[in-house]
Symmetry: D3
């Protein structure tokens, strides 16, 4: 029942990097407003913005043994994504594990649970999104699995999916949709820049999107 | 049922500015401890402090159409105040709408829901207090109303009321009470400065407020 | 029923200071993973790290009278620890009380309720951990107690216990265990530095902790 | 600042009773989907269903003094509606106050806080909707107000407004809208009965509401 | 993007019925402790216990249009499973939709959002598990999808998966695992009955499971 | 570190039984409004009311091994009181453990975590107060302690303390205070009956407690 899937497929590194430049809000829109984790998934320090390839972990509550197992599976450019098998706020991860993960080339961690050593993580520049900050220690007694499908903060994640994350939250792009989503996201970003300039000059969304007729037809009255 | 009230009254600009200088805690005390939004209403970036005149918005969950309608109603010095008609954490507002609102002279947004593009909002200096940060997109399908009475994060807000907001939270001053509240707040601020100096010299509140007799009468025992 | 215990014992100042240097996560581990407050107890500004001797306060909801009583009991190097007698998010404490507590030599406050004037607290360098930020004012009508045993954010605290707090949270070390815990914490910190260097060179936890055999025996399969 | 408004206007008793028969969901729809309290406002025992005229109370956290003041203002057919001035779960109300309120002809209580003696309240048939059940006692030290405008569980309530409440929650009908809302609610109820019979025979909403064309136009695809 | 998948596979009806008899706790254990929804997913009335085949719905917040579309896809013995695309507590479902779903042979609803008309649902015997009870109405403006993969209350659900639900919560059995899980669940249930009888006679788990040696080896001390 | 304290002192059985008759609200008042657990500690079925002697358990998250150890320590009239070492909603306890505990004479369980098999627990008449209902299974891998001091739902509990619990919640009476509290509680109960009769006849609290003068002195105005 407890397995480590060793050979997983990853998306093209250039595609991943380009998705990271688009940012979460744009990528999420480009995907048809899917794939966003719940809003309690927050960065533990301000500033990180990345895209990376997911190594997934399913762990029991209060047990971080599988993180050690997962770190061996990391490639450069990967991100750890951990979901506990039941709700838990314990601190599964701190500066020692971050040091180990960075030595393997990992870029960060997304965890539907807690982390600790947040000052050190910030100083190391190791990007972490979590649903709690807690010094509460964990044990290494019960197995879980690595690189199996998980549900993390409301979103299904498969190993090799692309995680796009910044201060707006965390979005999951299925590996096979990466190219298509990137194309749409880049088109959207270009389009937004044009809109931004028109808005900055004082043009109203009501006019830019030609909304007045539809608002009136729906029954909006000005008094 | 869905209306836009176009001509609203606003408080005197000097009064509004002066309230902003007093800060939330002082204004809230000066009002008799009324008008404070619930503590989950937080600034999305650190540092903003303002007072501004409210343009109110009532919006369906997951639908930000009325924000476009409301932006047309903004005057310089206004702030948007949005309450969804049922609990919602979606990202109603981001950098494009902020660009549009700033072009109209708006100072910020108070929203009992989510916003996105928080890095860009911070860089633009557009002040936002919200109850969530979420990249989750919204639709433009269902009408709401603008400049009608709303309840936002536990407080009744009317268009033209003064919003005072800083890192302690958000307080609402009814437009017709603005002058009275300002007077009391300024008196309180002056009084606090004198107290601060006495406290800094080591004087105890027990003595400054002459509490010892009343504590003893209520039955406090020292052991 | 309402008492102020005046003569409390405190741990050795050097021991307290040394615990502060170890940090919350290390001290919590050294104690056998006990004594950590719930994760919603957070610093109101980023950066503080301290250890201090607890002056405890039991207060009614929405009533901060006992803070004035407690401040008289403060010695240099103390920290106020307040638990309301029922759940409350009101702002019990602000810059005036902080000025008074600092004049007595106090280092900070831990409160299972709200505080206000957070900008001023940050500027003053007065360290505060709280479960809420709220400008909501309190009254001075009902007695509580000072330096009695309390439960704060899930942990039992006695006057004179050592509070260790940083960005990972707040941990309580019973006064009589302080020396033993310090010894274990320092040993642990030294040990961690050695591990950090090995992790940084790419050694895996699987090998460093000799986990492979036990994982296999428990049934972990690599596929 | 602390006032008791003694002479308040109430809606017609027959109108109130008729609204109660319509139930919360129907009345809420008839009002244009306004006036519903947040979903954490729940009945403390199963079964109650009523409409009644509001006597409003604004009370400090952990202080139920104003309930005694409010009970004197009750008329037969009234309901007490209490909002604390900051979030509080204490047990403001129990079987003694219920006995007193029943003796005045009151039908129930809606409270954005806690109550106790729930077994006795059920046995007495005194209807209570609350956001908490807690035996935590309260004091009688600080004034509030009676029959002033309040915000209770997200909804503005004025004295004399009609409270409609059942197992689906609590809805507030402004006094001056009572007749209009009743008319719409009754029309809606009649209409629903007809629909129910058609649904029971197997007719689909897709056909009954003629939705297929609009779904197709919006882009729904069957695969 | 918005699709209705019409032809879905369902598990064997006898297998489904047999899983229902095992109950949630047993089935969840038989699956290796997977598939359980979060504990805030609760029955709206006491007593229901079933297993049924899932018809899945992905809906926007505050929009129940897709429920009408989904009802047409129901077969006898099915259960509706709805996940909103962002957190929402609105009342998507009430007695009219229940009447329609029952007319199609559906057994119930699992929804990570709100329902209303709970008295009527109980009287009708229509089983509902939800994360909220709310009379808040919804609109019919924005498309979603039917019978696509969803994540509901933390668990991935595919159309045709078996939902096992009772007062302990809701568990999802993947369709292709149904036979295997049933076998294990039935074995487990038989085994539990034997244990129950031994426990009832006073035998201790310490002896029945031969735990004493292992506890001692781990270091448990009796004092 | 992990210990089982075998010989604990218990209060007089008659005292315990008499406290149970007083009920939670009365006992809590008689103690000076101390000792009440947080309001999310609720009975899993309606009706139970008891007082019993605590056998305490400190358990890791998601690990129920210590329950088996604790059951051996039960005497007739005891109640299990479990606090996890970090927040956890897993189902630690079900009908098998209840069967075992009942065979030892235990009356119930208070747990700051989850339980399962709630239908069976109700049928067996085994009283349970918990903060969650969840079928989520637990492991038996990590030690905890039995009959050590714990903090459960915000209250410090020692082995042998008296747990008083009903539908209003759970209150903890320190063993050595049991006689004094009982005396005060019985006096209070007698006093309440007299008040109830006066309230039932229409006498107002304002008059019964002679509040009018004090209200007026504090500044209450009737308008």
């Amino acid at each position: 029942m407890s397995v480590v899937v060793q050979n997983i497929e990853r998306a093209n590194a250039g595609t991943i990097e380009a998705l990271g430049k688009c940012g979460v809000a744009t990528v999420h829109e480009a995907m048809g407003r899917k794939g966003l984790m719940t809003p309690n998934m927050r960065p533990v320090w301000s500033g990180p913005r990345l895209a990376a390839s997911a190594v997934t972990i399913s762990s029991p509550p209060g047990d971080n043994w599988m993180l050690h197992v997962a770190i061996e599976q990391l490639h450069a450019g990967d991100i750890l994504v951990l979901a506990p098998t039941s709700p838990c706020s314990d601190g599964y991860f701190g500066d020692l594990l971050a040091t180990s993960a960075m030595a393997r080339g990992a870029l960060g961690l997304v965890i539907d649970a807690g982390v600790r050593d947040v000052v050190e993580l910030r100083e190391m520049g190791f990007a972490v999104w979590s649903t709690a900050i807690s010094a509460q220690g964990t044990v290494k007694e019960t197995l879980g699995s690595v690189n199996v499908p998980i549900v993390c903060a409301g979103v299904a994640v498969n190993a090799g999916d692309i995680i796009v994350a910044d201060e707006d939250g965390v979005c999951v792009v299925p590996r096979l949709e990466a190219e298509t989503v990137l194309e749409k996201a880049q088109a959207r970003a270009a389009n937004e820049e044009a809109k931004r300039q028109r808005f900055a000059k004082g043009e109203l969304g009501l006019d830019m999107y030609d909304m007045r007729g539809r608002l009136s037809a729906k029954g909006l009255r000005y008094v």
